[in-house]
Symmetry: C2
Subunit: 264 residues, 2 copies
């Protein structure tokens, strides 16, 4: 199993499962699960906010389901934009590269979240996406989604809203990067992960981080050593217990305060 995130695994080897293949009776247990209307993520993902009939219309999207192994790219900066991706399972990071080879992580995506919306602007991806663990995604052809949106103003509105949400999300991150110190940044990050885990039915207080200290650092605008030290500081303050990538928040309110002091 490839452990390195930085190694460049060829994306050409990605296994593609089409709906046709699924219908043909592949190893997959339940072909219906690729339909939006029966997806367990429909309240988090693209269909969120749509009524029954519109969700069923989404089923007409001929999208492929694809496995992405840990360390593999889902897409790369500069590649032609064709699909919007919805995470079914696993975690991704998206990042942009700097001239000198360092990366700036722009986000982490979990089940139900969308990837690739930045590609519309110029018709090619403005960032790269890499799986942080073995993952599964739905690849939604943008052209089809567009067509479909033309028939439903509700769907069209949902897409716009999802893009807008991405803009708002980035505002928060700018606020974080622009005006918070190391402890506030890490607290904000952990609280955000905690909320998203909760929304997915996992524990809000105990979870496994899929990203390295360096990736957290890049995302939060600090060095990996500072991330590590801040984790230790939180542990000394009895806000949480941390062992490598395993985190248990023991004082959610305290953590909230470490961050609330400044923001909102």
């Amino acid at each position: 199993m490839p452990t390195a995130i930085h190694q460049a695994a060829p994306s050409a080897s990605v296994h593609i499962v089409t709906r046709e293949a699924l219908r043909a009776g592949d190893a997959m247990p339940s072909p219906l699960k690729t339909l939006c209307s029966t997806c367990h993520l429909k309240d988090l993902c693209l269909p969120c906010g749509l009524t029954g009939s519109d969700v069923e219309r989404l089923d007409d999207l001929h999208f492929a389901r694809r496995r992405v192994r840990e360390g593999q790219h889902l897409y790369r900066e500069g590649e032609k934009f064709q699909f919007i991706y919805a995470v079914r399972s696993g975690t991704f990071k998206s990042s942009v590269m700097l001239k000198d080879g360092r990366e700036q992580v722009t986000g982490f995506q979990m089940a139900g979240e969308l990837l690739g919306l930045d590609g519309l602007a110029a018709g090619k991806h403005a960032s790269s996406a890499i799986a942080l663990e073995d993952a599964e995604i739905c690849a939604i052809p943008y052209a089809h989604l567009s067509e479909l949106a033309a028939t439903s103003s509700d769907l069209q509105h949902v897409i716009s809203r999802l893009m807008s949400r991405e803009i708002v999300r980035e505002h928060s991150l700018m606020m974080l990067l622009g005006s918070m110190n190391a402890e506030e940044r890490l607290a904000a990050f952990l609280l955000n992960i905690s909320q998203r885990m909760k929304a997915r039915g996992y524990s809000a207080s105990e979870f496994h981080l899929r990203m390295s200290r360096a990736e957290i650092g890049s995302y939060l605008g600090m060095k990996l050593e500072t991330v590590s030290r801040t984790f230790s500081a939180f542990q000394h303050q009895r806000l949480l217990e941390v062992d490598k990538k395993h985190v248990r928040i023991t004082d959610l309110d305290g953590l909230q305060q470490a961050f609330d002091l400044r923001v909102q």
Copy 2:
């Protein structure tokens, strides 16, 4: 004339000019100018990328033209989202407020640029917009734009692309905030302004900044004193001449290098 950006001017007093009023033969010299198809900004603004017939369809949007005086809010964080705004003239800043009253500037908008796209996500504005000088905007009712987009997949695509562009823009800013030092940040900022001035037919090397040092600092994630010092440093390096808000770039390549070293 109100000089303070921070003072809260009541937006209720904003003067609204409808197309009907214009047609009725107001003081305005050329009523036709409110139409997208004859607007001098159509290559920068909403119609950008649309063909003739679609641009003319945009003329069916019943949008108001509005003056906004220096220091006045165009909209405030939390207000109901109804319009997307296109800047006709003048400069705006958009910002989000922190609990402790400080602001994080999230962007500066010039003629032809759009404001308010972050409001779609939750139906209310996620940021505030304030005029940095007397300005004029087109207030485009989102509901109407939506309807119109349903009749043209090209228009729909253009809107999505504009939102995507905003996401990409914020990626760059995250890169800036996350991994650049003070000189690189200010160089990036000035080069960006320079490009946008050029695209609008102004000099790329000499311009007047509409924002204060504190606002630049907030945007770039540094203190106003550091902004000021970095301006002085650039002047000593003979990259530019600066007198308060007036900037003349004397060595564009040098400035490019101060920034290129790291990025892209």
